[in-house]
Amino acid sequence: MTTMRLEPTMLVTGRREVWLRRIPLLPALIFMVIVTQLPFVATLIISFVHWNALYPTDVGFGWFQNYAAVFTDGATLQSVLVTIGLTVGVVLISLVLGFVVALLLDRKFRGRGIVRTIMIAPFLIVPVASALVWKHAILNPSYGLFNGTLTWIWGLFGQASHAPQIDWVTAQPLASVMAALIWQWTPFMMLILLAGLTGRPLDVIEAAKIDGATNAQIFRHMTLPHMRQYLELAALLGCIYIVQNFDAVFTITSGGLGTANLPYTIYQTFFEALDYGKASAAGVVVVIGSMIIATFVLRTVSSLLKEDGKR
């Protein structure tokens, strides 16, 4: 009796049931296809069109000339390198820093909860606001926090007027952008890694300690292998968001001084140069590049989900 009543809901039987199961999914799926996939198809088409909004009468099919323009344009290639450098630099440094902080916070000590809470604060400042504060209140050459601190330290020795005053953004433009981003993303890495650390099998570690394993051995042979998937996940998510970063570059350097990354360059080609064809070609190149990276990355994620199993 019960098995008969369970049957229609528990097993996928018949066409009607298959469709019934799909119904709740359809609105989301259709919405996503329309809003995210159709624009990409449009981008693909425009990328083959010779189209600059400044010359509205001169629009026509252009074969691969936009792609040729993208690949021969030094600025675009430069921005590819900047994007890679910025992403790898920010992700690596914030991952290492985040791991160190997570390890420090994994111990019991006075004020642990407070330190954890204050560590998260940078991640909760609106990105544009944080970029603005870094640019004006921290890196500013005449009254920023960094130079102010230098003056104060030199002032302690009565040498305030001899304190080095560095124009940070001009001297180190890319490092300035990276500093703001690392500051903002380390807490995020820390949170993920801390969650991973709390999931460690403590009894096994205790047993290893009793067997005389040193802290370094435990870290290398037990903590690191356990943390591998969390490190990968944190790196993956960091990459997704930092590759697309626009706010920090736009605000701190306005893409100047060799800091223009791909999102900024495409934005500029669209709305300043108004070269729709070339910008679309650049967009397609970025999408293909991301897809290649994403295929590798998705394998990592699927290994993360394996233990979830099927229902």
Binding site: T2, P27, A137, L191, F250, V286
Partner: protein
């Protein structure tokens, strides 16, 4: 100091080891505190500067103990001679809240079809959602702009609601799936045997049980919508301007503005700070796409 150290040493190797361990612990705790303070430093500096007058904010070396004043907040909100921030804040709130509602409206049923009663290729579908998140949004910016222009949607809140819904739906679907997958299947089966239909099941069992997850998902979608700037700066204008875009336009003013920048930044970040601190742990689960429980 030396007396304690030598005392410990003479007491035998066991105590020395414990002693060393304890001292190491103190150092590590101090290090944790120092790093924490370095990271929160810019936030505190921002807060302090926002509470100083413009002249006190622009000194070198910094005047830490200058008198506090709410002047900068007053001039940001009261908009003495500047643009009024309220329309931008209200737009941001409206767009973020409505798009979050839409995201949940789409994501919860989708998550149901991906976990509780899964469609055949549920994992492929889930990965499709994720790939849309991996494609750089900027590549779709021009077509969205052109389509919005033809449909006369430029500079309307509706356009931003659509954009942010699509931006957050993948994360929300992943996150809600991981929450729904945790629900005990037996309870659902029991309810079904009692003759509950899909809608009753949703309203009376799934929604109440998954409500912490729904709240967490909603918070994250709200934060991302509130923070977004690239699309907002291109697709909004005078009527639908959002808070981040307002913030960048706000800073072009001449003269001393450091304190005002900090006050404005804090004011704009406040909803996110409140929401984020309220849901620290949920934040991790959401941002890690549900991979971390």
């Amino acid at each position: 100091m030396t007396a304690v150290a030598t005392g410990a040493r003479t007491a035998g190797p066991r105590i020395t080891l414990q002693d060393r361990e304890r001292r190491r612990g103190v150092w590590l705790s101090a290090l944790a505190w120092i790093i924490g303070l370095i990271f929160v430093g810019p936030v505190l500096w921002m807060l302090l500067t926002s509470l100083h007058s413009e002249t006190d904010a622009a000194t070198n070396p910094p005047s830490l103990f200058a008198p506090l004043t709410l002047q900068s907040y007053a001039s940001f909100f009261g908009a003495a001679g500047g643009a009024n921030p309220w329309p931008a804040l209200i737009n941001s709130a409206l767009i973020s809240v409505v798009s979050t509602a839409f995201v949940l409206g789409f994501a919860i049923p989708a998550a149901y079809a991906l976990s509780i009663r899964p469609v055949k290729k549920w994992s492929d579908t889930l990965f499709f959602f994720l790939t849309t998140k991996m494609l750089p949004m900027v590549a779709g910016l021009l077509p969205v702009y052109l389509i919005a222009k033809t449909l006369h949607l430029l500079d309307t809140p509706i356009l931003m609601i659509i954009i942010y819904t699509s931006m957050n739906l993948p994360i929300a679907a992943w996150m809600m799936r991981s929450f729904l997958a945790e629900l005990p299947l037996e309870v659902l089966e029991a309810a079904e045997m009692d003759g509950a239909g899909m809608l009753t099941l949703f309203r009376q069992i799934i929604m109440p049980m998954a409500s912490p997850g729904i709240v967490a998902t909603g918070l994250i979608c709200f934060i991302f919508s509130w923070n977004e700037m690239l699309f907002a700066s291109v697709l909004t204008g005078t009527t639908s301007i959002t808070a981040p875009v307002f913030l960048t336009s706000f800073v072009t003013s001449e003269g001393l503005f450091l304190s005002k920048v900090c006050a404005a930044s804090i004011a704009v970040s406040l909803p996110v700070l409140v929401a984020g601190f309220a849901a620290q742990d949920k934040l991790v689960q959401g941002l890690s796409l549900g991979a971390i429980k």
